[in-house]
Assembly symmetry: C2
Homo-oligomer: 275 residues x 2
């Protein structure tokens, strides 16, 4: 599923809401979160009291940086806070991610709705942050109380546990869709222009003529229905000019039988195209 | 972000398109994919020539099963194939996930569009599969050619590499949204009923009367504008009956000053409620 990887020639997307990891337990998970952020153009990583300490130095650095893959720059730029209040001080709004109901009277938004709201508010100049709790326990109630709204994910109720980096990934993915559009990152390969109807009808005439000649339409009374069915099959192919030429060449070959060693002159100059 | 985890009392969602891991390199990643599938109610895991072999036994089992967390049942039920052709034989349609353009004339769908189509087709009784290539290289061109359509993800073009389990997670998440709806898994805590206008207007009368008494509205000509602004602030709170009682109690307390040790009888019986 990879095969693209980090591309240093394309300017990286940046911005978006801050990702605030509250008391994350494992440095390696911080690295995985950085990677998920980079995938979707998020760049503001904030850490509140990481349990293993600040993963920029020492033994932790290796695991965190390996997990971050090409996104170590986000670890380098991450900010460290000793309280959640400090981490959200400059923000205009905060969303708390939780996997279960927390008994707090706040709006509960699905991640897509939350990120659509975030994209609008950021476009008006607001600064927002998304809070993620520790791996094992999630945010505690006092931390959730510091947020304006709750974000949750539609999950299998029998198996609702998302790991920290997965939750960051889903928020980042919905941010990307809301802020930058959900079009896939590439379009199909260039294809030959769509065939004009004239070309397709000429092909039908040729094909149906040959099929009639070899007695394909039996009983004859069914020819109109059989022809319509065939035509609809070809219509579903949405043929390009090259597709029509290739198909026509294929039928010509089947009709005429094996090619002689020295190919004879044809009346259909493009009938040998293979597409 | 967890705090919910595996719940054995709720029937697990199952079904959805098959997840087909083609030549996956690491057993631990197979386990992580199983976990991502379980999160979003997918249950048909197929492995084509896993590089480390079948992770049900031996040394591989430990890592794969640990990574699968509560989703080991998906590993137990997974099917093993020696070719992609065998793995897709019973399916009516296949989607190939790729991170880059593959020079093949197939429709390229974003994951959300693809899973919306999948939900419709599965509801008509079709069987579908999603192909995921090896971690490092992705699907090769012959494998992509076996698919009807290509699925890709909107990603940061400068950092487009998703790991295998992340790609499975995003497909599963979009499947969940398409097949089971995107509502968050819980609603806000039960709250007191929304306050009737009469109750809110009575509170405004009381509050504005007290504010007038203490000379808050200065200059007096601005009182209407100041009152409207205040009322709009309260309207944004979308108050419940309990909210109005709590707020009114707060104002009463501020107006009357410190409570005597033995509270005197009040004309507002509910004014001490704290909400």
């Amino acid at each position: 599923m990879t095969g693209a990887g980090t591309n240093h020639t394309i300017p990286s997307l940046a911005g978006g809401p801050a990702i605030i990891l509250v008391r994350p337990q494992l440095a390696v998970n911080i690295g995985m979160c950085a990677r998920a952020m980079a995938n979707f153009g998020l760049s503001d990583l904030r850490l509140v009291n990481p349990r293993e300490g600040w993963p920029r130095t020492g033994a932790l650095r290796k695991g965190a940086y390996a997990a971050a893959a090409g996104a170590v720059h986000l670890l380098e730029q991450a900010k460290l806070y000793s309280s959640l209040e400090e981490a959200v001080a400059d923000l205009n709004g905060t969303f708390a991610t939780t996997a279960r109901e927390r008994g707090q009277l706040k709006p509960v938004l699905a991640a897509d709705t939350a990120m659509t709201e975030a994209a609008t508010r950021l476009s008006f100049g607001e600064k927002l942050g998304i809070l993620f709790g520790p791996e094992r326990t999630g945010l505690d109630n006092e931390e959730v109380a510091l947020a304006d709204k709750i974000v949750s994910f539609p999950v299998n109720p029998a198996y609702a546990s998302l790991n920290l980096a997965q939750a960051v990934l889903l928020v980042g993915y919905e941010w990307m869709k809301a802020a930058h559009g959900s079009a896939p990152p590439f379009q199909p390969a260039d294809r030959s222009p769509a065939a004009p109807r004239e070309m397709i009808l000429s092909f039908f005439d040729y094909l149906e003529g040959e099929l009639a000649r070899v007695g394909f339409f039996r009983p004859l009374a069914k020819r109109p229905v059989m022809q319509n069915n065939l035509r609809n099959m070809f219509h579903r192919m949405n043929m390009s000019e090259q597709d029509v030429r290739s198909f026509r060449g294929m039928i010509v070959r089947l009709v005429e039988g094996p090619r002689a060693d020295k190919p004879k002159k044809k009346s259909q100059p493009s009938s040998d195209d293979k597409g």
